[in-house]
């Protein structure tokens, strides 16, 4: 919980790669035997489902397909049906709003808190530990608790707002199409802040204090120090936090499912919840798979960006 840096320093495999090629066939077999379990695992649990999902999205998969095994190839029909569905636009917009809204506030709050905990004050360690709590709770628990907090009549949030005379009427947090998405975003921000806090905090720890001292001697104010020293040095960490946060947020499912189930009237339907609904509520597995694949494609683009940014930062490390 203290200052251990979580940044990966994967210099090992990179620097030793290709150094000792060849060797006896026996040795090579031994070496492969270490890789084999991983390869089998990946093939079985990653490649197979993804390939199967891809195939499914080009087939008409209904309940009849399950028993009599008839699932005719329909080309891009599933994708066309999904994209022209009125819910598609809503789901995409909700996914974007949910992801951007969550990320923005998670990051700003996380960074603010990380900077705050840079100073040492009594109980700062305990407080930092407590702030990790949302991260440790299972999302199902957080979701259920937020459902109570948001309840229109008895929820503690409305009681508080009414008591402070901030609002005249109780706000229908989860039961109006205008409020449900912001409510879901707020809950997700609460869940995501600790992740940002932890990583950014460890990034901040890596910034040498001597730089700040030098800047202070040169007459730089706090804002200037933050802008000219903290931000540039923290950039690789920020890139990682945002990229991982993005991928985590894109695939959020359980929280929304528990809070609203995608409702009311699709107001919180994202691509994940919609894919689930298509597959397991409407039993149109072809269309469900199509939505799932669209989501995978989007996540993949960002994952590749993330991998590239890691590679670049290693290269930079190698150069310096």
């Amino acid at each position: 919980m203290t200052t251990a840096s979580t940044e990966p320093t994967a210099s090992g495999p990179l620097s030793t790669r290709g150094r000792r090629r060849g060797g006896g066939g026996r040795e090579r077999l031994v070496r492969w035997s270490f890789v084999l379990p991983v390869v089998v695992f990946l093939l079985l649990f990653f490649c197979y489902p993804i390939v199967r999902n891809l195939m499914m999205s080009f087939q008409e998969w209904t309940v009849a397909s399950f028993y009599e095994a008839g699932s005719p190839f329909v080309g891009l029909d599933n994708y066309v049906d999904v994209v022209t569905d009125p819910v598609f636009g809503t789901a995409v917009l909700n996914t974007v709003l949910f992801t951007v809204g969550s990320l923005l506030f998670q990051f700003v709050l996380g960074l603010g808190l990380a900077a705050f905990f840079q100073r040492h004050f009594p109980l700062s360690g305990v407080l930092r530990g407590l702030l990790l709590l949302p991260w440790l709770l299972p999302l199902v628990v957080s979701g259920a608790v937020f459902r109570w907090i948001y309840d229109e009549g008895f929820g503690v949030l409305n009681q508080l707002l009414l008591g402070l005379h901030l609002v005249g009427d109780p706000i229908p947090w989860l039961s109006s199409t205008d409020h449900a998405l912001p409510a879901a975003i707020i809950a997700n921000i609460w869940v995501g802040v600790p992740f940002n806090l932890v990583i950014l905090y460890s990034g901040l720890q890596a910034v040498p204090t001597s730089l700040y001292e030098a800047a202070a001697l040169d007459g730089a104010g706090p804002w200037q120090r933050f802008r000219k020293i903290t931000l540039p040095l923290l950039r690789p960490v920020i890139a990682i936090v945002l990229m991982l946060g993005l991928i985590y947020t894109l695939k959020v499912f359980d929280l929304i499912m528990i809070l609203t189930g995608g409702g009311p009237a699709n107001a919180t339907e994202t691509l994940t919840t919609w894919s689930f609904a298509l597959s397991f509520e409407e039993f149109d597995f072809g269309e469900g798979a199509a939505v799932g694949n669209i989501l995978i494609a989007v996540a993949l683009v960002f994952a590749l960006l993330y991998l590239r940014s890691i590679r670049d930062s290693f290269r930079r490390e190698g150069e310096s």
Partner: protein, 443 residues
């Protein structure tokens, strides 16, 4: 605690009966130790062992071939402790009569259909299956079910709505021991205090609800959640107003939805109804935050336990001369295609579950209505609290009667329309227009 006990029991049995172990796991298990000894000889040995283990695991998963011939595998979704125990006992007794044993599988209601579809793919469906009645169409559509006429079971003497719910394309695939329906349940204490009579018409319902809405207590609670549960609660109002699921655009349907959402707009029902399932509705009623609720007979046992002073009346209709039309609820027993012998055994057990005495017992325990007309009449006399439900079942309708397997899509579209009207600013006309379009395109 219970799980671990079961686990220990399983291990004990495993030890006691080595013969069974060999039969179920196959010969590969006995081969493993010899292979393990040679483990360090090379990576290929390792791979071979891994493969063997994987094959054994896969073989065990299938399970279909090694079923004990005297065991009937049954699947249902009665997961609450009391219902599960009672259903267990009935199954055991019925199976025992034919020297059979029952291996009961039991999953939460929302996981039942995914499990059934998975089992269908692997051709390892249970011998006897109890599904929620609107889902019968979906299972029957897979082609995995057998007609009940094969076993000499027919729908004579049953309420017509129940036979319809058990039929797919004109053929009978399932029958239910008991059914349930919705009614208006009211808090007698609050009604007496306000000097009110339980409502019979929509106007009376509105007036009573308005009268009883005080402080944190709403006049009425119902479920308008975005799933079948929300549609099912609205259907009595749609039907008794002359609306139909096949024509969601009709003025009759619009009027019914206007009434339904009007209850929220006028403040006599909470806007949170869009997030409540029927258990949440019961909670509101029990805690005194709702003076009336639309709910099913299965909640009565909870109300008795909590000591609520309640009364039950049929669901109000637009006018006094219209009889209520509720959708029939409850689970239907069906027999999937397995082997002729297993099917015959399952049919004997199902036949016993459908006998008048079993029906009466199960209905009494579970607050259901017996599916046979004659049994229901006797039941109404024995259990007066259930009389409104019995009356309603006589005129009850099968949700899937007109739509068949398309019901699922229409139901989802209608639930969305209800949500859009109550939670959003969409007018009932527009919401239903859209629902009809969506349902039409997916049919």
């Amino acid at each position: 605690m219970r799980l671990s006990a079961r686990f220990v029991e399983a291990i004990r049995q495993f030890r006691l009966r080595p013969d069974r172990r060999e039969r179920s796991a196959g010969s590969a298990v006995r081969d493993v130790p010899t292979r393990v000894r040679g483990l360090y000889r090379g990576p290929f040995r390792l791979a071979a062992v891994a493969l063997a283990v994987a094959l054994v695991a896969a073989g065990c998963g299938g399970g279909g071939r090694s079923r004990d011939p005297n065991v009937v595998v049954e699947l249902d979704h009665y997961t609450s402790a009391a219902a599960s125990r009672q259903f267990d006992a009935l199954l055991e007794r019925c199976a025992g009569r034919f020297d059979l044993r029952v291996q009961r599988q039991n999953v939460p209601v929302d996981q039942l259909m995914p499990k059934v579809l998975r089992d269908a793919t692997a051709h390892s469906l249970p011998d006897l299956l109890f599904v929620d009645n609107p889902d019968l169409q979906t299972v029957a559509k897979t082609g995995a079910l057998t007609e009940l006429s094969l076993y000499g079971l027919d729908g004579r003497g049953y309420f017509p709505g129940i036979v319809e719910a058990g039929s797919y394309r004109g053929k009978l695939y399932g029958l239910a021991p008991g059914v349930n329906g919705l009614a208006l349940i009211y808090n007698r204490t609050l009604f007496e205090r306000a000097g009110l009579e339980p409502p019979e018409t929509w106007r009376e319902l509105e007036r009573a609800a308005e009268e009883l809405t005080r402080g944190s207590t709403h006049g009425i609670a119902f479920s308008a959640i975005a799933s079948e549960e929300g549609t099912w609660q609205f259907e009595p109002f749609l039907w008794s107003n002359g609306g139909e699921l096949t024509d969601l655009r009709s003025p009759r349907a619009v009027e019914a939805l206007k009434f339904w959402s009007g209850l929220v707009d006028s403040g006599v029902a909470s806007r949170s109804v869009v997030n409540w399932n029927q258990n949440d509705v019961t909670d509101r009623f029990v805690s005194g935050h709702a003076a009336m609720m639309i709910n099913g007979s299965w909640t009565l046992s909870t109300l008795d336990e909590e000591g609520v002073n309640y009364g039950v009346v049929p669901i109000p209709t637009p006018s006094r001369d219209i009889a209520p039309q509720v959708p029939l609820g409850g689970e239907i027993g069906v027999i999937p295609e397995t082997t002729p012998r297993r099917q015959a055994d399952a049919a004997r057990v199902l036949g016993c579950m459908l006998e008048k005495e079993t029906m009466l017992e199960w209905s009494t325990q579970h607050a259901y209505v017996p599916a046979r007309v004659e049994a229901a009449a006797q039941y109404a006399e024995d259990v007066p609290a259930m009389r409104p439900f019995v009356e309603e079942v006589a005129t009850g309708r099968a949700r899937t009667a007109e739509l068949g397997p398309r019901y699922r899509a229409v139901s989802q579209a209608l639930a969305d329309a209800i949500q859009a009207t109550i939670a959003g600013a969409t007018s009932p006309e527009k919401a239903l227009e859209r629902a009809a379009r969506v349902a039409g395109s997916e049919g």
